[in-house]
């Protein structure tokens, strides 16, 4: 069977499975609909949370970014897992005890103010919408390769499918569908990683393979990779950092706080029966997430090595008799000359996968020196050594551009793995994007219909109309995000990082102070959320354009890119969160303290006894 047929079969089978589960596990009541009746086992809930959490950014984009960034890519790994420690200890058990469906509901009740809950809705919508833009970029990549179309067409198709999925299947039995999606996506991620790790290092476990020697040699894989990328003028793999150490610090912190503040993740902890389960559920979620997150660094590093090995034979990889990409120990040991003429791959002899990806426009070759061979190196290097070597070899600039977002999807093809593995990865990428999009749309629709329309504008709205408003807001969110996804502010994972910054600077501090400070009042919380959101958006929009619309950026006005201590907009959420805390505390000091019954409420939220099922009543 050819690749296209196998892909249709595997993707089709996975979709049939999701739809089957959605029909089997229909929701019967409002409580089941929003919180699965508060009856989900912590391990099951952990798995569903992991699928909800691991989006197109984690699955498709992250390993590619790690491949590009090297050591610095660790900020995604630590940031997106470390946040669960904060979530498990600072928020989840207390919000579960509080026992309502949504984050704006908690903020509205705790700060005894509809204004506070409306501000929380605005923060939630800004963060979730930005997040979905990143998903759409990823969906575009997955569909473009899967159907052999341009990435723009991929986004249109993705929009249509996400819409159908969210409106018909997404609302019902979402938790159990997500369990199935987790299994598909984790299998799709691990299987190729096992194969590739085995081919390169002889150790099938990628977590160990990354720290092993290359097959038949006593050169460690990371040391070899360091040597090659440095020789070609890139930053050394195991030490390169994005910008400064301060920036990496803030970026990581921003992702951690954002993780704990993202409403669609917090919502998951309302679905477990008890406070005790809410605590361990976060741990289970992290176990399932870590399976992918500890594999990703190996996938990134090995994909980078395989890519270099494909276009340059001096790296020491070759395709064997069965057509697999394997190590040639002699070449690895000899440290052959990467700049020798015959080392560069002839364009006419490029492998099939390069031809397939050229169609999507995400991989491009341009023969700058007209020798019919592919030279892939860093032509903007600061290394005088690499510059001199490239010049002596007659290289006229880098000739291969590879979009970082395709690394994971192309990875099994680069390693020349069997067709069914490649098809499985396509299904996994779609599962990741769809499950997260569904979770986000759920958060958006409940915020608009429940917390905004019902709570503020039309208190006596019927259940049916509330649901209708929810669906309309989903549709609007899909259209806006798809449109912005065509001109994304960055790679999928970078865009998603902005969403975390927004959640970090607005929602997390308000929720945390709501639990840990009895005396925090509504004036403080509202001022804090607005200040945090405002400074973060201001800095982000200055770089990326107002509401991410191209051409409306005003970065010169703030003194050039990254003018605030060299901190990039993706890392600015941590600064926004500090502003939020400081403004809230100062305003709280000069206004009157919250009423007695609110302080009692905080006391009761702090102890587990007396927890009951969640409900939606205001």
């Amino acid at each position: 069977m050819d690749l296209q047929t196998v892909t249709y079969l595997v993707v089709g089978a996975s979709f049939a499975l999701y739809i089957g589960i959605a029909i089997w596990a229909r929701a019967g009541s409002t409580s089941e609909f929003y919180a699965a009746g508060g009856s989900v086992h912590p391990v099951t809930n952990g798995m569903a949370t992991a699928a909800d959490w691991m989006s197109a950014a984690s699955f498709i984009s992250m390993a590619g970014l790690i491949a590009n960034m090297g050591y610095g890519g660790g900020l995604f790994l630590m940031g997106w897992t470390g946040g669960y420690v904060l979530l498990a200890m600072l928020l989840a058990p207390y919000l579960r005890k509080f026992g309502k469906f949504t984050v704006p509901q908690f903020i509205g009740d705790r700060f005894y103010s509809k204004t506070a809950s409306t501000v929380a809705v605005v923060c939630l919508l800004t963060a979730s919408l930005t997040y979905i833009i990143g998903q759409m970029t990823g969906v575009g990549v997955a569909f473009s390769r899967f159907l052999g179309v341009s990435s723009e067409t991929g986004i249109y198709i993705g929009q249509a499918i996400v819409f159908l999925y969210a409106v018909f299947g997404g609302m019902k039995g979402i938790t159990y569908t997500q369990v199935a999606q987790y299994i598909v996506l984790i299998a799709a991620y691990l299987v190729p990683a096992f194969f590739i790790s085995l081919q390169l290092t002889g150790n099938p476990l990628p977590q160990l393979g990354l720290g092993s020697n290359m097959v038949g040699t006593d050169t460690s894989l990371l040391a070899k990779l360091d040597l090659i990328v440095k020789d070609l003028g890139f930053d050394q793999y195991t030490t390169s950092i994005p910008g400064s150490t301060l920036n990496m610090f803030m970026y990581t912190l921003s992702l951690m706080i954002g993780t704990a503040g993202l409403p669609h993740v917090i919502m998951r902890f309302f679905t477990v029966p008890t406070v005790k389960d809410a605590r361990s559920s976060a741990g289970w979620a992290l176990v399932f997430i870590a399976l992918l997150y500890t594999t990703a660094p190996a996938v990134g590093a090995m994909a980078k090595l395989n890519l270099h090995g494909t276009v340059n034979s001096a790296v020491g990889l070759e395709s064997n008799a069965e057509g697999k990409l394997v190590v040639n120990p002699a070449t690895v040991k000899a440290n052959a000359d990467l700049y020798a003429t015959e080392s560069s791959l002839q364009y006419e002899q490029r492998p099939e996968w390069m031809k397939r990806w050229e169609k999507t426009g995400l991989l491009k070759f341009e023969d700058k020196n007209g020798d019919g061979r592919i030279q892939y190196y860093n032509d903007k290097t600061k290394s005088a050594d690499a510059k001199a070597k490239a010049e002596a070899a007659g290289w006229k600039g880098n000739e291969l551009t590879v979009n970082a977002d395709i690394m994971v999807m192309a990875n099994p093809e680069i390693a020349l793995l069997p067709n069914w593995v490649i098809a499985l990865v396509a299904a996994g990428g779609l599962a990741a994007a769809l499950s997260t999009a569904a979770g986000l749309l759920m958060a958006i629709s409940s915020a608009v219909s429940h917390d905004l329309v019902k709570n503020v504008f039309v208190p006596n709205i019927s259940d049916k109309n509330e649901l209708l408003v929810g669906k309309i807001s989903m549709a609007v969110a899909i259209v806006i995000s798809g449109w912005l996804g065509l001109n994304p502010p960055g790679f999928a994972a970078g865009t998603v990082a902005l969403a975390f910054g927004i959640a970090a600077s607005s929602l997390f501090p308000a929720i945390m102070m709501g639990i840990f400070s009895k005396k925090m009042n509504k004036e403080g919380a509202i001022a804090g959320m607005l200040a945090g959101l405002f400074v973060t958006l201001f800095y982000v929009f200055a770089h990326k354009g107002i509401f991410f619309v191209k051409g409306t950026d005003f970065v010169d006005l703030i003194g050039g890119p990254n003018s605030f201590f060299g901190i990039t907009p993706e890392a600015f959420g941590a600064v926004g969160a500090m502003v939020n805390f400081i403004v809230a505390i100062v305003v709280d000091k000069v206004t009157k303290e919250p009423p007695e019954h609110i302080q009692h409420m905080v006391e009761s939220v702090r102890i587990p006894r007396g927890s009951k099922l969640v409900d939606g009543a205001h």
Binding site: V85, L286, I607
Partner: protein
């Protein structure tokens, strides 16, 4: 009396949180970022140690921290008799 027990419970909780947050900070921001260059001179298999913390080690320790927290909180709940029935 009840008030004393409530404040004792909260104090015990905050004590546990502080302890865990210190470890959380040390393994990620400490070993994974601030001290990574220094730790890289030590190797763990084929991994430079600082790189390992940032790409692997911190994640394993995060998992252990959450389960440790869940267990210890259960103990504190029972000690102050505020656990769920």
């Amino acid at each position: 009396m009840e008030n004393n027990s409530a404040s004792g419970y909260w104090k015990a909780t905050l004590g546990l949180l502080t302890k865990i947050l210190i470890i959380w900070f040390v393994v990620s921001f400490g070993a994974g970022i601030l001290f990574a260059p220094a730790l890289n001179s030590i190797s763990l298999g084929g991994y430079p140690l600082g790189f390992w913390f940032a790409h692997q080690g911190a994640i394993y320790i995060f998992i252990a921290l959450i389960f440790y927290y869940a267990k210890k909180m259960g103990d504190i709940d029972r000690q102050f008799d505020v656990h769920e029935e």
